[in-house]
Symmetry: C2
Subunit: 364 residues, 2 copies
Amino acid sequence: MAEPNFPVLKPGATIGILGGGQLGRMLALAAARLGLHSHVYCPDAESPAFDVVRRITQADYGDKAALEKFAASVDVITYEFENVPADTAAFLSARKPVLPNPKVLATTQDRLVEKQFINALGIATAPFAEVNTADDLAKAAEKLGRPSILKTRRFGYDGKGQTKISADTDPAAALREVGGEPSILEGFVPFEREISVIAARGHDGRIVCFDVTENEHGDHILRVSKVPAAVTLQVTAEAIRIAGKIATALDYVGVLAVELFVVRDGAGHRVLVNEIAPRVHNSGHWTLDGATVSQFEQHIRAIAGWALAEPVRHGSRIEMFNLIGAEIEDFARWLTVPGATVHLYGKAGWRHGRKMGHVTRVFD
Amino acid sequence: MAEPNFPVLKPGATIGILGGGQLGRMLALAAARLGLHSHVYCPDAESPAFDVVRRITQADYGDKAALEKFAASVDVITYEFENVPADTAAFLSARKPVLPNPKVLATTQDRLVEKQFINALGIATAPFAEVNTADDLAKAAEKLGRPSILKTRRFGYDGKGQTKISADTDPAAALREVGGEPSILEGFVPFEREISVIAARGHDGRIVCFDVTENEHGDHILRVSKVPAAVTLQVTAEAIRIAGKIATALDYVGVLAVELFVVRDGAGHRVLVNEIAPRVHNSGHWTLDGATVSQFEQHIRAIAGWALAEPVRHGSRIEMFNLIGAEIEDFARWLTVPGATVHLYGKAGWRHGRKMGHVTRVFD
């Protein structure tokens, strides 16, 4: 059920954004297009999002005085990343509406809790087991098989905090490799492809999804997203149903991404949830140029209490790929490709694995 | 010939923008998407463009100390309006590249000089005559007929600084009405429709035009732009040829708009230039949502020394209309219309005739 007490913003209102990376930047740009101001809060002085807003706070997420001032200056607060500390979210939500609801973070910040939540909805995930000790890991690997993947329950992204458990991996060494943190072991999923659903849910509980996207990763980082995904109508419908069910169960307001594995199952396919990202998502960047509304605008509309848009896709086929690390140096070549749009995030310098920008190609 | 000495900017460079209205705002948003910073200079504390950049200067255009600092902080300077004072432009161009070249302003700031420049290129305009006195006006009205339109040579926009000369208009009173300024009388043009060409010209002299746009005005303010314009292929080709000829003759770098009248001429049509706007233009706003590259990005690419894009239009038909004055209050309704995109400029309050935002509709 949607909560009735969220404010409906007026043009000229201010959105507080926790996190100053490229997602915060693109959220702020979308807010600006709608006549809304943004105030970005981030500890990092070099935050890309600082460059496109008038009000910034550079402070730690635990700085209560800074958070107090930030909350006083905005009408609603959102976040660009799922690892907002629980204390920060609680402190802010006592002062201003925080959307999506910080309760969502408690679920999605912990891989174990997230998977249990998903399974409790009757939705399949990769098989998993809780791992706190080397002994747990040895038993889990026996049950789930090898290869399998050990992941810390918290604070993992882009392949950080995870390691592969092969036939000859020593459990104690593997656990040390992920810092000895509380973890889970995930069984290997022989997926045919990876897809994601970018879903928006409004104050009123209405859910609007973008076209299902097919994703390719390299070194655990998203490289390419393609629309439409090469999946059956049944898979599409199931993915959309799952995203809607999760958004509703979380009483979600805003945009969320659900990453899924598509696995062959006899003559058909099964769909398993890989993970939930309670935020705008890299695999939705194509919507900036490939649809009549972007995921960023859709998120802003949702948290502003405004009507969600009904996205209409441009072109028959769209491809988005990230410019990672040194690939940024290719930007000038992409500027010359007809139908390609280039987005650069304004980051000071590139380093290996850093997302520097992306390119969208719309094909007729 | 394009000037070879303009710098080619690197991502992270800073663009200085003179003028802080919605055009400056949308230029800054386009620059941000390309990883470029913007520094907006405007005397008005409430400038919409201030809201989307990190560096602003609120100072008069004659403030040499402020201009000095501004120039020192940027890599290239551009402007969102044609009435940049000549002294300001000269002061800045002694310090940093100003694009388009300030010489362009000398031509386009004066209706008489502009029309003489256009005619000298062999391109037709409405008939006109110089008017400095009531006697000049009486003679000009006799020659060009009534009704005709008296316009100040300088600083007119959106119908300001102009008055209609009807059969019973007293020349002295009419001249007083436009402030007794040096003026021109323009003969009435029985046009079938008004169109515009948004053209970009790069450092290298390459010219790329957007689809010819058809425009409807009300109270001298643009209300609606439609693409494609309902004109013949001959008219399209002639309009594009004219825009290119003007851009080349001005040795222009950036985006310029050429407004034209389409007049029936026997079985065919003639095209007359109405005016040149040496900047991005309201009739090009549809490119934000209706093409793979916007006029704003195209301008930024040009002044950055980057490759111009080859725009590809979305949909079969596009309509852009302004939200003027109280029409802003309709914004929430437009948010619900499928395929409509809403842009609000973040202006503090609406007043009669003020451009508050626009809506683009892309039709399949």
